[in-house]
Symmetry: C2
Subunit: 623 residues, 2 copies
């Protein structure tokens, strides 16, 4: 086991300090610190927009930096954040021009109606002080008051420790906070007006928190942050490896997760003006690895076949033991998992969509780096996960980028190519939904064939002029140009290559093959699908017709496909607001039948087939 | 609030280090460190037997030290431990001659039969390893195995955190330890042979621990230690004051208590050769202040009238959160209190004596610095506490000492005075039971009158020669000599003065008045008493006839009076061995009616009366 050497990186202006592994990229350290730096090229080192002024022990500039910055800027201390490694203590000044604009993190999580039964109750108590005639102990004094309200009060040591001093300071006018009859806080005076909870969706890339009023059920604020664990690995496998190969790896990743939740909590408090000490209940959904790391659970078993979790059952702990900056004895519940790579996030998706056996056949797909999906058919629920790779997040694509300002998000090809970008900015790259749209349109006009091959310029002669002019060969690679150098202001035109299309084929093939494996296991067919729900950022922004055209999902009528937003987060909210929903989540997790694709021969067959694009205009299934 | 300055004192040979408040007596620091130093005079600075070699920042020798040691010894670094204060870092070497011999701590705690239902179960599990065909999560794998044994397993996060690595190291051959269906430990291989618990009696002065086999119910070892909190105050009032007037006072006293329990646990392990990681259950009884301090509960409310506890209910916490050196997730239960000065120790006394309504009228008295007592009459239990002062422990008496080797423990006066000492050693002082015996005999032969006045030499002429020769006047004070200088080798004869007798009168009057108040409150009389139980060290060593003669307890037939040893500790054992006994303890605590003597007019009246000695030979009540 190695001990990881940590170094301090400070970001100015602001002075945010983080301890990160030596050798980390400045851009990653910024993500850990919650400091937004522009990264149009997605950290490929090609755009130079993430320039910062660096002072400290860092790596020497490489050729791309020298090219992007020039000698003079380098001499003034400028560096490219996504190319520069912090080897020792470093101070980074982020110029205003390099500060990132708002990142597009999907945070809308509409919640269906539910009962308000969070389990948290606040009661204002006017108690009589002890006297020689009434020597009832302090705790029992509160218990007697609450028993008139049918609470059979139980004691929680950390609160009991302070009972005497609080009661005396407050002159026996206090607010008792109970969670399921346990006294979890005691506050001076009447604080019954504020009774809060936070529901978190802890993703591998982004973390979202919803501040909820437990009395009214209303959402008071939403906040999001990048998952600072990215400093230790982009994907789950590398984080598991970091956690298991470093002495303090698990603790570092746990602290990073807790830090993200706390940063979000603090944003929620600023946005809404509430007191975080009045947050008494927290729920968390996330994939199995994320929630294990949050709880400090050994993830060794997730790192090797057959990838079993340490635990599937939901866990409830107090906030203090996790280090969450809410009421010390707030109860934090991590929803149950189904399997090693099917976590409570998918349980949240099911929960928020009334995953009831109402006779319909329903498919829910949550696409991120990992695709998790569930199929309900004839009362049975089948779930699985498939590694899609990062193509849907715009990563690994030559001109790809995350869905932020300037990302091409829709493409239309007729006589000419029409694009739109997020924020109507100059195009600087293409995001996942834009990529799907572009490929769908290119298939329709014959620029790409069923096998995924991009036509060579010589084969494109029959196409309209604007289109065929965009098929170019550069450095021996055929490209289809979506935006020219002159329009985009970029160093290179924004174009798709055969390799980009192959990566999308792999990603979409993997997801669709998994869907087909579920359908087959359930004894159903595509025709049975009454509803296809697309969850998560990608599922929300994608054009349904394009998704069907490229064969990402089965060819159902477009009206059967609905975007359900951050349904995992919505599930966390429901479980926060109502204990009955928590019980339902437990049942859903327990009843789900997990298919392990690694041992499914039908998955391998499907994968071969679904890598191809559907022929011609997709045959939409009609009822 | 003050911050207490702590200094390091190291005891050699052995190198035991303790952090103690600056200005502490070396003798107290030794108590904190668990280092036994001879103290025949009880720390009065008169015998000089506690000489040690001191090196460090200590107070200057006072006149008594100079007298006791002489210039030469002082020059060699010798000091008297009970006179020397450590003001800064100090190293103390304890010569062999000054090491204390075994202290007499009452530790026998006979336990009546009870069911063996500790709630702890160990199960050896031979599990199949996960495979692609069986992806059950690690925790659920254990749960499935145990469900066949009717255990509905619940998860405890600290154990879950390590499940994966333990299972893999142990090749899925593990022992699961549950407490009430919760998985509190997971051990490699088959460790079912050792399943242990510790019952503690946490007294203000001494702490006793009983190591119990939870499978057989057998006691494996007993160990005792001084309560190191003595460094911060001899009595409860001064410890409460220390806890509430210093910033870190509560934490210091809590650490001291935890340290004592851990020292005892380590002694128990050495004595029996067991592994403390196999201790899964701990019970603790003690007075309310002691158990509050152990749990780190604010004791402010115990320091001022009306002296109410923060909590009366029993509390269960895990060992790690308290810092107890047993299995991390061992469950530690502190038994319930009745009132501010009637703690779980008295509940333990009742529990161990089958405090059932069997029609008898029963009185239990546990005498220490504080006397706690309970009366059962016609189905009602009345309890109270009375401050007796330290006379019964030999403290505050001119020649008094704790019950250790050389203490006069019985006295018989006929034609001559006959004494015995503990360990048949040369007499060096008198302990509590010796004092009671002496005064009873002196009353019988007329040396003391009913008011407590000691005859002057001129009034003793009619007594036998050996007796009257012992009535002397020295420094203007009348004394009755129990042992002459020549026999004892002490600096002064061992004698009782009028003041000593007064102190005993106050102590015994206080206890007896409390007893009478209980009897009166119950609507009973002395005649109703079917049984009088004397608990604790004093109650065990005292001669019953003498106790009745001086009027410490009501004049019942001697055969109705029984010594019940460390009955509080026996109660802790019962609660450890059987959950039903724990429930019974809860009921006993809840049903007991507490009488607050401070507001009882009858107590004040009784106190006046019971200060006197009974006239003539006590009239023993016959049925």
């Amino acid at each position: 086991m190695r001990r990881s050497k940590l170094v301090k990186v400070t970001f100015e202006p602001g002075g945010t300090e983080v301890m990160v592994p030596a050798g980390i990229l400045i851009s990653k350290a910024a993500a850990v610190a919650g400091v937004g730096i522009e990264s149009p090229c997605g950290g490929m080192g090609t755009c130079g927009k993430c320039r910062v002024i660096v002072n400290g022990d860092v790596s020497a500039p490489d050729s791309s930096e020298i090219r992007l910055l020039g000698e003079e800027a380098l001499a003034s201390g400028y560096r490219v954040a996504c190319r520069t490694h912090a080897n020792g203590e470093t101070v980074v000044t982020v110029p205003d021009a390099s500060r990132s604009r708002v990142q597009k993190i999907l945070s809308s999580a509409a919640v269906r109606d539910c009962k308000l039964l969070s389990g948290v109750t606040k009661t204002y108590c006017e108690l009589s002080a002890p006297s020689l005639e009434d020597e009832t102990a302090e705790f029992e004094r509160i218990a007697a008051f609450l028993s008139a309200r049918d609470v059979n009060l139980r004691a929680d040591l950390p609160v009991v420790r302070k009972i005497s001093s609080i009661l005396r300071r407050a002159n026996y006018r206090v607010t008792a906070v109970t969670y399921e009859d346990e006294l979890i806080a005691l506050e001076e005076g009447d604080t019954t007006h504020e009774c809060l909870g936070i529901a978190y969706d802890l993703g591998s890339t982004t973390v979202v928190g919803y501040l909820m009023d437990l009395t009214t059920g209303k959402e008071l604020a939403v906040a999001a942050a990048m998952n600072p664990q990215m400093a230790y690995g982009d994907d789950l496998v590398s984080r598991i490896s970091f956690a298991t190969s470093h002495d303090d790896g698990l603790a570092i990743l746990q602290n990073a997760a807790v830090g993200a939740l706390n940063r979000i909590a603090s944003q929620l408090a600023s946005a809404s003006g509430v007191d975080l000490n009045h947050v008494y209940r927290v729920t968390v959904v996330g994939n199995t690895c994320m929630t294990h790391l949050l709880l400090g659970i050994d993830v060794a078993s997730l790192g090797q076949s057959p990838y079993v979790p340490a635990i599937c059952a939901e866990m409830t702990v107090d906030a203090r033991s996790l280090g969450l900056a809410v009421a010390e004895q707030a109860r934090v519940t991590v929803l149950p998992n189904v399997a090693g790579f099917v976590g409570s996030d998918l349980v949240g998706v099911m929960l928020s969509n009334l995953w009831d056996d109402d006779g319909r056949t329903r498919l829910a797909v949550d696409i991120g780096t990992n695709g998790e999906m569930a199929l309900l058919h004839k009362g049975h629920t089948y779930v699985c996960s498939a590694a899609a790779g990062p193509a849907f997040e715009g990563a690994g694509i030559s001109c790809g980028m995350r869905g932020g300002p300037g990302a091409i998000d829709t493409v239309r090809i007729n006589q000419r190519v029409e694009i739109t970008t997020i924020g109507n900015r100059k195009p600087i790259g293409i995001c996942g939904s834009g990529l799907v749209d572009a490929v769908a349109q290119m298939l329709d006009c014959g620029l790409i064939d069923e096998s995924g091959r991009l036509l060579a310029p010589s084969e494109a002669k029959h196409l309209p002029k604007d289109i065929r002019d965009r098929v170019i060969e550069q450095d021996g690679v055929v490209r289809f140009v979506l935006a020219h150098e002159s329009e985009s202001g970029a160093q290179k035109p924004i174009a798709l290559t055969h390799t980009d299309i192959r990566k999308l084929q792999l990603a979409k093939g993997s997801i669709h093959a998994a869907i087909q494996t579920l359908i087959r296991a359930a004894g159903a067919t595509d025709h049975d699908l009454d509803e296809v729900m697309l969850a998560g950022a990608f599922g929300s922004y994608i054009k349904v017709e394009s998704a069907i055209r490229i064969g990402l999902i089965p060819p159902v009528a477009a009206e059967k496909v609905i975007s359900i937003g951050n349904a995992a987060g919505a599930g966390a909210k429901l479980a926060l607001l109502c204990r009955q929903e928590m019980l339902l989540a437990r049942k859903l997790a327990a009843k789900a039948e997990h298919l392990e694709l690694a041992v499914s021969p039908s998955y391998q067959m499907e994968l071969m087939e679904r890598m191809m694009f559907p022929s011609g205009i997709a045959q939409v299934i009609e009822d």
